[in-house]
Amino acid sequence: MRKELRRWAERLRERALAEGLSFPPVLFEEVGPEEMAMLAAYGGFPRRYPHWRFGSEYLRYRETYRYGLGRIYELVVNTHPVRAYLLRGNTLLAQKLVMAHVYAHADFFQNNLAFKPIPKDMHEEMAHHAAFVEKAMERHGARSVEEFLDLALSLENLIDPQALYIQREEDASPKERPPDRLRVRPYLDPYVNPPPEPPKEAEEGASPSPLPPRPTRDILGFLARHAPLAPWQKGILEIIREESLYYVPQAATKILNEGWATYWHTRLLLPLLSPAEALEFAELQAGLLAPQGLNPYRLGYLLLKEVEDRWDKGRFGPEYEALPLGERLTYERPTGEGLKKLFQVRTIHTDLGFLDSFLTPEFALRQRLISPEDLPRFAEAKQALLFRLTNAGYPIVELVDANYGNRGELLLEHAYEGVGLDLKKTKAVLENLHRLWGRPVHLKTVVEGKEALLSAGA
């Protein structure tokens, strides 16, 4: 990396630490556009398992850059040390902005609670996964492994996002896990700890406990344990599941995380700008904060500024909450607790909690997210926004019964919230599930206002 950049990286790091951010070492690397496109396609990691969808993403990023329709300024990966890639050829100011931005992301990864259970050596994990899939391809043929990956990837959103944070009972049942079980990476588990021989029918108890014992969202995990598949196939299901879970906190904190990083690059950089740089900075900032759709940078940044301002002026607490809207706007009880509050928000919230707690009608009005005459609709509009962020915008689907109708069929249930499913795609997914499970698969949902049971293989 250029000497000047390195000097700035150091300077910004010191400032960030002095202001109260805390983060592991950050390794910056400058890369060209093609390499950046590759890293972005691979979700930030230099080595992933072979699959065409990475090629498709790569093409998209590469061409986007080529036609000047967009560029990736920066890519930051949550590992220890944090790795961050800068686009070579950007101006020094852009690189400075990005580096300050990255330090705040690194702080967020380290301190936000949603990221606590995320392994910090994910680049190694990803490389292991790649090796596993490549090995499977060698042994079982690239084509059949690819086909299986296609099936598995179409189920990648059928996970339990909470699995990272709580241990469900079913996993802990002592009968299923004898104490001499070796703890290994999940995808190696079927090899190292092969499942015990199924009990002979004669020995079997009167009534086996139902499967799953209670409805579960962890459908990928369930299939990996119970579907009639070869060990390598189960391994792939585990891999897809694990990688999906890795990205859960990132998807769940996009607005807060980008807002936090934007808040800090602005705060760290503004005092250091030369007059000549001020205009360029303003231009970069304007592009970043453009009011265009749901721009997480804009919404996150503005809302954090709002929180800081409110807590600086003491606009919180029961006394404040009790005031009518008009009086709230002028209420003042200076406390200077803004920054402290921001650090708390950064630690405990995901986007849902962040918006739910702080997205007020006052804010929406001031930022013109809503027009005055629509104000009575505010609660409804906010609800719609929160719904969009719930479960990363995916429908919530549970596995209810793996022995539906006592025929070994799968029964899934969609937690219908007033928005129907894309039937064409859903049916295709059910077909895929049927191919994995080997028996018919059903999904209970609501179609055009009426309860419906979609089935595949029946």
Binding site: W52, E63, L294, R388, G393
Partner: protein, 347 residues
């Protein structure tokens, strides 16, 4: 090869092999109309999508925050882009959707001179010297004069042996075509409907262009009045105002005047929700009756707006349904696009 190149190659293989059965999905995907070096592009970046359980309708936007995503820092948003295997893609799409081949109508043929380096000349610039032919001449001469000795086959070309590649002019018949798009931007057409017809216009243009490389494109917008616009304005058009379909047809007549039917294949496409002002339909149909015989095709696509659709489609079919060169269809949603496209191209 880097792993990502391997993945890309594999992706392209799949697209090439399977695009036929997937083209339908492509077309219904949203297109981006972007600017590249001042030119308007939209694009069929091939995308294969693995099915997932997803919501079937766009989630409520809430708080005026909806709309397209953004691409700035980080790999968050996605912007679709130009992928330049358009020709190939068009062919595949044509096959998959059974799009009709367009035939030049009338005698509208103009010959064009095309240069091809297909002959040999004795004179020419050094850069075009045809080495093999020159040596061949040299060998012939050596054999005739007896200078050639097989044990020491040395050829020295002389001036008379030199041969050059030479161009030949070939007259090539070349049909000309003009396409005019008329778009109803009255208040009853919403963003959603406008997007549908813009997508249609884009693909229609590409398909006609495939058959008439020298395609002239003109655009007009209308509500109660009609006015001509640039391509760019057309694709950016927003709604507002009342509707008088005849205004578009009368202006179309004007715009098409410089393209005499004897020399041009004239295509006119008209997009509306059919909510015409009372009393105007008769005027519109009358204008159309005059215009129709001079056109290669009049395509009328009626979209379904939030308040349903108007009667113009019915009226049109009733009065002029039997006429040749009329292609009328309705578009109620994205799913109808492939069929509408085929219809509008006369298939």
């Amino acid at each position: 090869m880097r792993p990502i190149e391997r993945d890309l190659l594999r992706f392209k293989e799949i697209v090439r092999g399977e695009v036929k059965k997937r083209a339908r999905e492509f077309l219904t995907r949203e297109e981006l109309f972007g600017q590249v070096e001042g030119r308007l592009v939209s694009i069929p970046l091939p995308q294969l999508e693995l099915p997932k359980i997803v919501y079937g309708e766009p989630l409520g936007e809430g708080l005026g925050l909806g709309g397209p995503g953004t691409e700035s820092l980080g790999p968050g948003g996605h912007v679709p882009v130009a992928e330049l295997e358009l020709e190939e893609f068009l062919d595949l799409m044509g096959e998959a959707l059974r799009l009709p081949r367009l035939r030049p109508k009338g005698e509208g043929e103009v010959t064009e001179e095309a240069f091809r380096y297909t002959t040999i000349a004795r004179k020419g610039p050094r850069g075009l010297r045809h080495v093999r032919r020159t040596l061949k001449e040299s060998l012939k001469r050596a054999l005739i004069t007896g200078e050639y000795r097989p044990e020491e086959p040395l050829l020295v070309p002389e001036r008379e042996d030199l041969r050059y590649k030479a161009p030949k002019t070939k007259p090539r018949p070349h049909a000309q075509a003009v396409v005019l798009f008329a778009l109803d931007v009255s208040g009853s057409m919403r963003e959603e409907e406008l997007r549908l017809v813009k997508t249609l216009s884009f693909w229609i243009t590409l398909w006609i262009k495939r058959h008439f490389p020298r395609l002239e494109r003109r655009y007009l917008l209308h509500d109660a009045e009609a006015w001509e616009v640039s391509e760019e304005e057309f694709f950016r058009a927003r709604e507002g105002g009342g509707t008088r379909l005849s205004s578009a047809l009368l202006l179309a007549e004007e715009i098409l005047k410089p393209y005499p039917e004897a020399f041009y294949n004239r295509y006119l496409y008209h997009f509306s929700d059919g909510e015409n002002w009372q009393g105007d339909t008769a005027v519109a149909l009358e204008a159309l009756r005059r215009l129709l015989p001079t056109l290669a095709l009049y395509g009328y696509a009626q979209v379904q707006g939030p308040y349903g659709q108007g009667h113009f489609l019915e009226d049109l079919k009733e009065t002029l349904g039997e006429e040749e060169g009329l292609a009328a269809t309705e578009v109620r949603g994205k799913e109808d696009l492939p069929l509408a496209l085929r219809r509008l191209l006369g298939g």
